[in-house]
Symmetry: C2
Subunit: 241 residues, 2 copies
């Protein structure tokens, strides 16, 4: 009997390999097409093999968020709190933008992994180091919310660009435009003005950098003002019935 030669050993599966494969598969095929079965196939293993390394699909998604958090630059040491916070958020933004599915997944997670907790702990630390009271820091973190991850809710994802180009006749487009201007005159006004603007285009499908920084700086300036005023939540609560 010929002794059976072992097939060339696949580099053995481990958690990191599984998570990284999941991230790049989601990058390639989209998060909605990422399934345990498809991921297993990509890795050349039977679906069940994945369950050795992640308890279930939710844990897989948590792990994928951790991979992304790992791509965010560590907190800058030099500058004051405002620049430190700003830089870290903009770095998070770059990491998130690299993975189109990330925003949705980050938003949908309810539990916080150690990596996420550490990320948040760093933020809190930056405010405290900047002289913010624990009280103000608490509320400021809530106000920051998901902007901590470097994204803003899209206002118009692709309103209008549905199948606009090819199929629709100019007449139909004109009719749609008329209907829009009748029903949503304000949206139209804003959209038109934005289109004339050189830098930002409504509906370009991607979170615009200027909009993001506008909102972020508005918040940071607000935080700064409150801190300088010695804002205190107990006072604020007394002031408002």
């Amino acid at each position: 009997m010929t002794e059976q030669i072992e097939a060339p050993r696949r580099t053995p599966l481990n958690r990191v390999r599984v998570l990284e494969a999941a991230v790049s598969l989601a990058d390639d095929v989209g998060i909605e097409s990422l399934s345990m079965r498809r991921l297993a196939q990509q890795l050349g293993v039977v679906p069940m093999a994945l369950y050795k390394h992640v308890a279930n699909k939710d844990e897989l998604l948590d792990g994928m968020v951790d991979v992304i958090v790992g791509e965010i630059d560590p907190p800058a040491r030099g500058p004051g709190w405002k620049d430190a916070v700003r830089l870290r958020i903009l770095s998070a933004r770059q990491a998130l933008l690299r993975h189109p599915w990330a925003r949705q997944v980050v938003e949908s997670r309810t539990s916080r992994s150690p990596a996420v907790l550490e990320y948040m702990d760093d933020f809190i630390g930056m405010f405290l180091a900047g002289g913010f009271s624990v009280d103000l820091t608490h509320h400021v973190m809530h106000a920051l919310g998901s902007r901590m991850w470097g994204f803003t809710q899209e206002l118009f994802d692709d309103a209008g660009s549905h199948e606009a180009e090819a199929d629709v006749t100019p007449e139909a487009q004109a009719a749609m435009f008329q209907e829009m201007s009748r029903r949503y005159p304000n949206i139209l006004q804003v959209a038109m003005a934005a289109r004339h603007d050189d830098r930002s285009v409504v509906g370009q499908g991607c979170d615009d950098q200027f909009e993001f920084e506008f909102a972020l700086d508005l918040l940071l300036d607000g935080f700064e003002r409150l801190q300088e005023q010695g804002w205190d939540s107990t006072q604020a609560k007394l002031g408002r019935p």
Copy 2:
């Protein structure tokens, strides 16, 4: 042959009935358990029957958002822009809080239904009526983002309350606490302070009203300041390289 008596006619299905049934089914069993099949069963029809009234599941979800938008109070007529915006957002918040799944679904939608467009058009109209330039209004809408719907990202959903009560021994709890204070000292500090606070408790599982209004008012005050200063995006862009 006895003439077959028609079974008592079900009130015939229509789009509104389907959507309302979907909303209350999601209220009851959670959005993750809402399926076309289960909804059909609830309505006493075959799954295929639903496809007469909604093209597919995505359109069903869009329609469910419309039902919720319909629950939001119409814009107030009397007050200035700031109170008008504030009231409408807090009304949206009430509607969204009535349906635990709504936040997630609103966030996940990429297309905007007529009802949603109208809701946004109203907001834009409030700012314009308040003397905001089209330009500033545009950026302000982006800054408002998903806060337009009356929710903020949860910071801590139920971190720690996982299975804390029953199963875990006091010793294990103490150990976990120590581990937390070592790894996430800043989070702990903020969490402890918040727990002493009479009104807000971190991790109470629901978006806290005070946090929401804090962040909202910070933004509204910021908007007001910019408007009074005659803020202009072209200037802002020149000022920043």
